[in-house]
């Protein structure tokens, strides 16, 4: 291993990073109405102003926040329970882990397909209920998808994100369980007490990070809200896409302004996360591992 090796190794990610940043900067520039190719050359804030006063945008913002906060909080809680179950039953590696990884690999569009074929009024569950006489018609099955409360989307995200949270925090939690956890139990603490006072607090850094990732992801992702969401109000990324495919290319700055605002909200989330975690951070403790 040469001293330069690490720099060569990070080259691909830097390359991709630079391309990504270039795209983002380009989009932000366009959001101020500067696209010379379409004869738009006046830099202005008016697109942002218009969008911020547009009720459609505000509804979409609300929907997106609702989806991402609810699904992420639930996914984090269920994820912790799943991790704890795996740690206490000793399934921290091997086959069970592969199943969890599988859930992470499956793309969101496939999750949407699963949801439609299982949860729709014409899906598997509705058919089973109808056949078994629990409901009179298939339409008697509650409408879970395409609704204004976005239940379908939230369920889809939870399905995807619980394994993610578990996978993300498993190594840390199992490490703590084997060391400090055992020590605590040796000293006479009950399992529950050990979990609540030792393992959970020490695992929080990984869980918090996982939470931040799924929170920002579900706020900015497009596929599930597009396939399972209500017609109006649409989630922000779907709304941005609708603006993007607007046949008039000079409409493009509106899209980019929405994207700019999505970015701003995501940054705000990350900022809040930073402030919250900064307070509780102790120098040199086990957190630094993650």
């Amino acid at each position: 291993m040469n001293k330069k090796t690490p720099y060569i190794l990070i080259m691909p990610i830097v390359l991709l990073g630079v391309i990504f940043i270039f795209g983002v900067v380009n989009g932000i520039i366009q959001s101020f109405g500067y696209i010379p190719a379409f004869n738009l050359v006046n830099v202005t804030l008016s697109y942002y102003k218009e969008i911020l006063s547009d009720p459609t945008f505000l509804d979409s913002l609300k929907v997106s926040l609702q989806i991402s906060v609810i699904s992420s909080v639930l996914a984090a809680i269920l994820g912790i329970i799943l991790t704890a179950a795996l740690v206490y039953t000793g399934h921290t590696e091997g086959r069970v882990l592969q199943v969890i990884k599988l859930a992470i690999i499956i793309p969101h569009t496939i999750v949407a397909l699963f949801s439609i074929s299982i949860l729709s009024q014409n899906g598997l569950l509705a058919r089973v209920f109808y056949r078994s006489g629990l409901i009179n018609t298939q339409r008697g099955f509650p409408l879970l998808l395409y609704t204004k409360n976005n239940l379908g989307i939230i369920l889809g995200y939870i399905w995807k994100e619980v394994p993610f949270v578990a996978y993300f925090s498993l190594a840390l939690m199992s490490g703590i369980n084997n060391t400090l956890g055992e020590a605590s139990e040796n000293l006479g603490a009950s399992k529950l007490k050990t979990f609540l006072y030792i393992i959970l607090p020490l695992s929080m850094p990984a869980i918090r990070k996982a939470f931040l990732i799924i929170l920002t992801f579900s706020f900015g992702a497009y596929d599930l809200p597009f396939l399972l969401g209500a017609t109006v109000p649409k989630a922000l990324p779907v709304q941005a896409h609708i603006e993007y495919i607007h046949p008039n290319l000079r409409h493009r700055p509106y899209t980019m302004a929405i994207n700019g605002l999505i970015l701003a909200v995501t940054w705000a989330m990350a900022g809040i996360y930073y402030l919250v975690t900064k307070k509780g951070r102790v120098k040199g403790d086990i957190h630094e591992e993650f």
Partner: protein, 423 residues
């Protein structure tokens, strides 16, 4: 972070940047082998050149045809019927690339922003508001259609749909490709009725409450369906020269909006939400969750029956006053590297021969003018078996309503989202 580390990091980023810009530059100067002479030709390509010379220039080239790739039958037809004809007759290789028109426009726009003079797209399957936008933003090459020998030979240049695309003058920037018309589809074994106007349609929805819906706008099919309803309620004439202003359009379609809001009560999920795509509506119809669907492919019932998707009792119907129909077209990208070959390919596609295969294999209404065909060619079109459960071509063409102007369509879609859904 010490300064040495910082310098290393900085140099990594700089090298990465160099690599990227290096790639970019390389991309713009590299040409396919043996293409050296071609670039100069297509750079200053002149469509006024004698067509024989264009044929000569086109030889040995590859054209990339970008368009919606969701129709497997059409892809198959392009690859197995059109491509061999082009190869054999003109020594042109046809590459079909499936891509949604929004993405094609985004790609073209991106290439234009990057100042790329040699793009990747040659031919584009396009129409309506997308053509309007592409032409307005100078993304298309032309005018070229009058230079095509087969345009003069087979096409009626006085036809409204040859002169205007969604009310927007074509001016030779795109050549006709096929005709489409909105049709409604239901199953006579499930519902005996075939509503002939919007009033009957309302009754139909009341009777089969919760079992009718349409794709949410701006889905292509959903949008055309709503325009058909609007035409039936307020007529279509007034839109042809309407100002593209939201208030004006809203006032004109107010009775239709009221109708749509009333209709909501009887639709699937009470019109609170609509399926996002026409594919979902088709699936729901096939599954029996809906009693009716709609299609912009006039003969989709026959095709569906042949594939075994539809039962024998499924049939096509339209309103007495007609349904919207449009022509779809092929345009050439302004930065196309193979304009000569693209022109030759388009010339071949508008010939009676290829149009006849399109009619036979895909049941797409041809764009050639029947009167201009030879008896032999006429016989070929006449002998096509249209299949079961469809309407004859003359009935469709007879009840064909023109599309709204391209710049009105997005306004209608916007108004629908604000005034109809969930109201």
């Amino acid at each position: 972070m010490n300064s040495k580390r910082f310098i290393s990091l900085l140099s990594t980023i700089i090298i990465a940047l160099l690599l990227i810009t290096g790639c970019g530059r390389e991309g713009s100067i590299s040409k396919p082998p043996g293409d050296n002479g071609m670039e100069a030709v297509s750079q200053g390509f002149n469509p006024d050149t004698d067509f024989d010379q264009i044929l000569e220039e086109a030889k040995g080239n590859t054209v990339n045809f970008y368009g919606w790739g969701g129709d497997e039958d059409r892809n198959k037809w392009l690859r197995q019927t059109v491509a061999p004809i082009l190869k054999e007759k003109y020594d042109i290789t046809l590459e079909v690339v499936g891509m949604d028109i929004d993405d094609i426009l985004a790609k073209l726009a991106g290439e234009k922003q990057a100042g790329l003079e040699q793009g990747t797209i040659d031919m584009i399957w396009i129409n309506g508001e997308n053509f309007y936008s592409a032409k307005e933003n100078d993304l298309l090459f032309g005018p070229f259609i009058e230079k095509l020998p087969n345009f003069e030979k087979y096409i009626d240049s006085e036809d409204e749909e040859i002169k205007y695309d969604f009310g927007f003058p074509i001016e030779g920037y795109e050549a006709p490709y096929g005709r489409a018309q909105m049709v409604f589809i239901n199953d006579s074994a499930i519902t005996g009725e075939t509503p002939r106007n919007t009033d009957e349609f309302m009754e139909y929805c009341k009777k089969y409450e919760g079992k009718v819906t349409y794709p949410a706008l701006p889905d292509f099919t959903g949008s055309a369906f709503v325009r058909t309803l609007i035409h039936d309620i307020v007529g279509h004439e007034q839109f042809s020269d309407m100002e593209a202003d939201k208030e004006v359009v809203k006032k004109a379609i107010e009775p239709a909006l009221e109708y749509l809001r009333e209709l909501n009560k009887y639709l699937w999920n009470q019109g609170k939400t609509f399926p996002a795509t026409s594919g979902e509506v088709d699936n729901m119809f096939e599954d029996g969750e809906l009693v009716m669907t709609m299609s912009y492919g006039s003969y989709s019932v026959a095709v569906g029956k042949e594939k075994g998707i539809y039962s024998n009792t499924v049939r096509t119907f339209i309103f007495d006053r007609g349904t919207v129909g449009n022509t779809n077209y092929i345009a050439i990208a302004k930065n196309s590297p193979n304009k000569a070959a693209a022109m030759v390919a388009i010339n071949a596609i508008i010939s009676a021969e290829i149009q006849a295969t399109q009619f036979e294999e895909l049941r797409t209404l041809p764009i050639v003018s029947y009167d201009k065909l030879t008896d032999e060619e006429k016989a070929r079109f006449d002998n096509v078996d249209m299949g079961e459960g469809v309407l004859p071509q003359d009935e469709l063409l007879d009840k064909r309503l023109p599309e709204m102007p391209a710049n009105i369509v997005p306004i209608v879609e916007e108004i629908w989202l604000e005034e109809v859904v969930g109201k």
